[in-house]
Subunit: 288 residues, 2 copies
């Protein structure tokens, strides 16, 4: 039988209503994104404080520790309990990595990268598995963008969050929003361990990763780490993002909104099988 | 005579051109945002690696160390030299804080917050000076948004960056873009020390802070730290951002785009002196 993990289910509402006054001086109720501090304790040792939406805190914490290399295998993980009363998550594992102190020490240097990513350490690491150079059809991408329109719930109502999705061709397997897109990626990784069923499948079946956020260095790295070779974003790319995509063989599609997109494809894997009608003047817009 | 700081001027081009293929299968040259790793050494000790646009690296490094509390006063700062060949910034100071080890230790916990902010430590700190509850006129805000339209250069051409500005009423005193908005805020703080003239004045004269980014907890905290009581953003707010704005007396204006905005004003400091013409249907849009 599969190794079972003791856990809480401390999901909280991800939005709350506040009163705002609009440009006409009229008062409105506006939902805004929750943002909660959650301090993570690994075998009673304080590791980090994460600011999060609180949608799936157990998965976030597990995914964070996993992606930081602080929990080696799913079997090491015994329990994760989140208590919002004290804004704390207690994680219990069988073993701690032998180089825990080194890792925590490194973080002093590396988590500062980009003021918040773990780029430094990730750059030294290589994707877990050799990436399969999945082709991507324009028609499939449009269908996927259509399907993704049904998600982004919190963003649509409250804004101020980023969404990430694990997809298999046009199908959305799993979708997470959080105040930081790093949290969303970590939550997906945590779900793989916590929900043995669906999301485990999601992570192993996914061949496209979607994010509303920018394609910076650490997003490309984290997606390559997940073994996914197609990265789709509504936003733009940065120099290091492009460099690392070429290095790891990740196909980048940036600024994907409506019919528009920009492919950065050094391997000629994108198949233009569904060109849209000719562009209307002023159709094109920049997005960050 | 004022204390002079030895420095390099290692500004690099902030965008570079890559080839992209659009939805019609046509190849284009697209400028993208630079993203460079810069490892900071304080008196020969490695502190952090920052991912940055490279627009004003000396100011970024000085502002980062200043906002982290690792350089106490401008007079402590002797030199800052950036060498892109080795992606390193060497900073020399007269004194290091006595609690340097503690601070670097804390960072292991705090820089992880939100996977990248220093919220944890900042929350414990209070604004340097009591905030002046500056009123804000709608007409002044519209004029300021007009003036800000002339900035955001990198964003408009390449996207994938955030901009921050120090403003005095409708006047833009200083504007910085970077791949991370934390970098942009730190760069403004660094300029105050490096360019004794203009930006020093900018920081002390500013009464409005503008950002393209979201009004999350740490943005509100950093702005309160700068002694500014009006925070204007093109994007949305989060719960902690609102809580801290109330706690510190910061007037928040969110989703400020075109004529639209949402004021969160617990002190009734916003003056509705320029209502726009009645809204057209479907005029209103959410922005993250």
């Amino acid at each position: 039988m599969p190794h079972s993990i003791q856990r809480s289910h401390a999901r909280l509402p991800v939005t709350l209503d506040i009163q705002v006054v609009d440009e006409f001086g009229q008062s409105h109720t506006q939902p805004i994104a929750a943002e909660r501090a959650l301090t993570v304790y690994l075998n009673r040792r304080e590791i980090v404080t994460l600011m999060s939406l609180g949608e799936d805190p157990e998965a976030l914490v597990v995914g964070y520790l996993r992606n930081q290399g602080l929990i080696g295998t799913r079997e090491d993980l015994e329990a994760v309990f989140v208590d919002w009363e004290v804004e704390a998550a207690a994680v219990v594992t069988r073993h701690l990595p032998e180089d825990l102190e080194t890792r925590l020490g490194q973080r002093t240097v590396t988590t500062g990268c980009g003021q918040g990513t773990v780029f430094g350490r990730l750059l030294d690491s290589v994707p877990r598995a050799r990436l399969t150079p999945t082709p991507l059809k324009q028609s499939v991408m449009y269908a996927l963008l259509e399907n993704l329109g049904a998600y982004n719930e919190t963003y649509r109502s409250a804004g101020a969050v980023h969404g990430c999705a694990l997809c298999r061709q046009e199908q959305v397997l799993d979708f997470v929003e959080d105040v930081g897109r790093h949290n969303a990626v970590d939550t997906l990784a945590g779900r793989e361990w916590l929900n043995e069923g669906s999301s485990d499948a999601a992570c192993t079946q996914a061949d496209i990763f979607y994010t509303t956020g920018r394609l910076t260095s650490e997003m490309v790295l984290k997606v390559a780490q997940m073994g996914i070779s197609v990265l789709l974003s509504r936003s733009g790319v940065t120099q290091k993002g492009v460099e690392l995509a070429e290095r790891f063989g990740v196909l980048l599609v940036a600024r994907a909104k409506g019919r528009h997109f920009q492919v950065i494809d050094t391997q000629q894997r994108f198949i233009f099988d569904a060109p849209p009608p000719p562009r209307r003047p002023g159709d094109r817009r920049q997005t960050g």
